[in-house]
Structure formats: C-alpha cells, structure tokens
C-alpha cells in the first residue's frame, strides 16, 4: 500500500468507522431513542435502494425528495445570482451606490431564513414562492459581497490599460472589470449555493412542502427517527457534492 492510498482512502475510512462506532455506542447507552446505524439502514433501505418510488405526497424515495429540493434550491439560487451579481458590481463600481446601500446590505445579511419565511408567506400567500424568496434573500449575500470585493481589488495596472486606451464604459466593463473579478464572483456563487442548500431544509420544514426537509419534519412528527437520520445524511451528501461541483467551476474560471 502506497503512502498516497493510505492518506486518501484508509484514513477517511477510519474516520467514518469511528463516527459509526460512537453513534452505535450512544444509541445503546445515553440516547436510547436514537436508532442505531444498523436499524437506520434497515428502516431506510427502501428509500435508498428504490430512490424514485412514490406512495404518497410525503412518502417517496429519497431520490425523488432530493430532486424536489434541488429544483427549489435551483430556482432560489438562480434568483439570488440574478439579484446579487448586479448589486455586487454596483457596490464595487460606484462609491455613491456603496455609501447608499452598503449599510443596508450589512444589516440584511445576518437575518435568519426563519425570519424571512413568514414575511414571504405574507407577501406571496403560497408556500412555494415564499420558500424561493427566502432562499434567494438568504443566499445572495456572499455573491453580493464577493463580487463587490472582486471589483474593488482589480489591479490598477489593468485599469490603467483601459484608461490609456480610453475605453468606453461598456468596453471597460466587459473587457476588464467583469473578467478580472470573475474568480471572486464565482467564489461568491459557491458560497451562495452552500447557503441556499442550508436554507432549503428550514424553508421546507416550515412550509411542509415535499422535499428532503419536509420529509424530515414529517417523519419527526410520525416518530420515525431513523428517517430523520436518512434525511440528514442525504442533505450532507448533496451539500458536499454541490460544493465540489461549484469548486470545479470556480477553478476553471480561475485558470482562465
């Protein structure tokens, strides 16, 4: 066994085994209501092995539930980028805009999704648009802030090239400002996607819409605790994959 395989496979595997053991011990000693790993797997098997079955609104394979959540996150994330990117560029480009709106950005940023959701329900009267509204509002801030920072940290050398060439505002934006800040913008997108995924669970729990979060809450109310763990693991796995995916995109932009 080479040193590299030990590092890449054996050590992470050891970590997983350690956590599973701790979980088993806890479920048999302190927290007896917590299903053990073996029981969780027994009761969740069908959801994982037939991920796309549908027996009812809330009783569906985990693949189907994850798909609903992903579609919802996709919409909210898209809206966050659509709103956040131009706001970020304006904050970075215009001193006046920055002075007018930066305090508001700083004030809105720490507000929890739990606070936005009721407001969304009041405005839209329906849970679906309210959930998307909440995701967008919570997820847009890293995009806003990273874009603004990216614009402000463009090397003066590049801007001087544009000044010497007397580029029009439009050309300055498309040829210099946007490409130069793109790596920052995509870091913002990656962080925003992570937040959007974080918010989806809360949004679904509160609105009771079908999805991983909604399923989790319903199974809690039905006392099927093993399915809570199934949902938690699913949320973790998908979140990890999304981050990896955006990481690949981000690296591509950085090389370019």
């Amino acid at each position: 066994m080479t040193h590299a395989t030990v590092k890449k496979i054996v050590l992470p595997l050891l970590g997983v085994i350690a956590v599973l053991s701790l979980w088993t011990v806890l479920s048999q000693t302190v927290a007896t209501d917590l299903p053990s790993p073996a029981r969780t797997w027994r009761e969740s098997r069908r959801y994982v092995l037939e991920p796309f079955f549908k027996d009812g609104e809330m009783n569906q394979g985990i693949g189907r539930l994850a798909f609903y959540s992903l579609v919802r996150v996709g919409k909210g994330f898209a809206l966050a980028l659509l709103l956040g990117t131009p706001v970020g560029f304006l904050l970075g480009l215009s001193r006046a805009f920055h002075q007018s709106f930066d305090p508001i950005v700083q004030f809105l940023r720490p507000i929890s999704p739990l606070a936005w959701l009721p407001l969304g329900l009041v405005i839209f009267q329906k849970s679906e648009p309210a959930a998307i509204f909440t995701i967008a509002l919570c997820a847009m801030w890293p995009t806003v802030i990273n874009t603004a920072v990216g614009v402000r940290s463009i090397s003066q050398d590049y801007l001087n090239v544009g000044r010497v060439l007397r580029l029009s505002r439009w050309k300055m934006l498309t040829k210099i400002v946007v490409p130069a800040s793109l790596p920052y913008v995509f870091t913002g997108y990656r962080l925003s996607l992570g937040l959007a995924w974080l918010v989806i669970v809360a949004a679904e729990m509160l609105t009771g819409t079908p999805g991983v979060g909604g399923f989790l809450w319903q199974e809690y109310n039905s006392l099927v605790y093993s399915h809570i763990i199934l949902s938690v693991v699913t949320i973790g796995v998908i979140g990890f994959l999304l981050d990896r995916l955006m990481g690949v995109v981000e690296r591509r932009v950085r090389v370019a």
Binding site: D157, V164, L165, R166, L167, K175
Partner: protein, 259 residues
C-alpha cells in the same frame, strides 16, 4: 518648441513621514522620430515620470506639451509599455493587441482592424502564438506582446517603462535586438526608461541621466554619436560608445545619493 516638451515637472507623494518630493522640476525635450532614454538608479522616480507623461497621474507643477497640445489625462497618443507588461490574462495574444487596435481605429472596418492586429503580431514574431494566453508565454514573449500593443495604439510617442527589467540577461539582449529592428522599421518617437546604461546607449539617440531622488531632476542630455542601423556586436568597442558611457557614468557617480 520640441515635439514633446516637459517643463518644470514636480510631483510629491504624501507618506507616513510627511511629503516626499519625487520629482523636483524635470525638463525634457524630444523631437519627432527621436529615440530618447532616461537612465537612473532604481527608485529615483522614473516610473513617476512615465506615469505623469502618460497622464495617469497629475503633476503638482509643470507642464507636458505633445505636438502643441497640453497633456491633461491618459490617451493612446502616448502609448505605454508597462514595466510588468499588464497584459490582460483572460485575453489571447491576438485579443490583447486587438483591444488596442480596435480602441484607436473605431471607424475602420473589422477586416482592416484584423489585418492591422495580425501585422503587429507578425512584427514582433509572435504569429504562431497568437491564440495563446499570456500565462502560456515566456517572459520575453510577453514583453513582445506588450510592445505590439504599445505600437497598436499608434502613439505619437511610445513610453517604455523599464520594459526589459523583468527578463534574464539573454532574453533581455534578444528583446533589445527586436526593439532595435522594429524601431528601425517604424521610427516611432520613443521615451525609454531604464536603469541599464548599456541598454540606453544601444537603443537611444539621446540619453538623459536622472539624479537619484528625492527631488530628482534630469541632467543635460548626452548625444549618442553612433550611426544607425546599429548592431550589438563590436558596438562597445566604438569610441563614441565609450564616450557616451563615460559621460553617463560620470554624471550618475557625481550625483550619487550620499548614504
């Protein structure tokens, strides 16, 4: 009045310990089609002088007049080859040059602008690399792209701020030879800023030595009496070469900063 006239140029910067005067009244005159070099120690204010002539920063006092018009801001008629090249890393060699060609020829048809761009890339011998990004090029190749972009601005005067200082000695020599050939073909008015006395003599018609700052000024210009076209070989054995070199070194020594 000369083609480019710089009169009593002063510039000071605010620092933690008060104001530091970088340039203390610089005078400079360049004729049309002339190749002038400014030679001085590192940190004496040469880049400040270039930035002022380029119009990227404003002087505290003094004026710059090019072809009868005072300089008030940056513009392509004072094309610049930056010290760190400042090529846009997200654009190919072709697109970096095309950006300048398109900016100064907005009225011309696209095909003609494309031809101009390709011509300039060929002039610096980079046609095979036209599709590459700056990061894929060697230092010497990047430097040549920067020269092509500077020329693409069709400048009345081309400002070169220590254009070869980031290169190793061999690449540096080959880039100087390139520049010598290109200047022979184009006869663009050039101000070359350098800390290399031999580079200045090889390339320039006239050389202004610069006193070390603070409050740097230019000494009297030294004529380089070498005939053109010049070739690097045996040049340093010419009496005119040695005379110019001695004059510059004497001036720089006499005005050395007292440490």
């Amino acid at each position: 009045m000369a083609y480019l006239e710089v009169l009593g140029l002063r510039k000071a910067y605010a620092t933690a310990r008060g104001r530091t005067e970088v340039l203390g009244g610089v005078d400079l005159a360049v004729d049309e089609g002339e190749f002038v070099a400014v030679v001085g120690y590192s940190g004496s204010g040469k880049t400040t002088l270039v930035s002022l002539v380029a119009g990227l920063i404003a002087p505290d006092a003094g004026e710059i007049v090019l072809d009868g018009a005072p300089v008030t801001g940056p513009g392509p008629e004072r094309g610049i080859v930056f010290q760190q090249y400042s090529l846009l890393p997200w654009l190919s060699v072709h697109d970096n040059v095309a950006l300048a060609v398109d900016a100064v020829n907005p009225g011309r048809p696209a095909r003609e602008r494309r031809r101009l761009t390709e011509e300039l890339i060929a002039l610096v011998n980079l046609t095979p690399a036209a599709g590459k990004r700056p990061a894929q090029l060697s230092g010497g190749m990047r430097q040549r792209v920067a020269v092509a972009r500077g020329l693409a601005m069709q400048p009345k005067v081309l400002l070169m701020d220590e254009p070869f200082s980031a290169l190793d000695a061999l690449t540096r020599a080959s880039c100087q030879d390139h520049l010598l050939r290109i200047w022979g073909e184009r006869r663009t008015t050039v101000i070359l800023i350098t800390n290399d006395v031999d580079e200045a003599i090889l390339l320039a018609d006239r050389i202004y030595p610069m006193t070390p700052g603070p409050g740097a000024v230019l000494g009297p210009a030294i004529e380089v009496g070498l005939p053109r076209p010049r070739a690097r070989r045996h040049l340093s054995l010419e009496p005119a070469y040695q005379k110019a070199r001695q004059a510059i070194v004497d001036f720089l020594r006499a005005n050395r900063r007292v440490a």
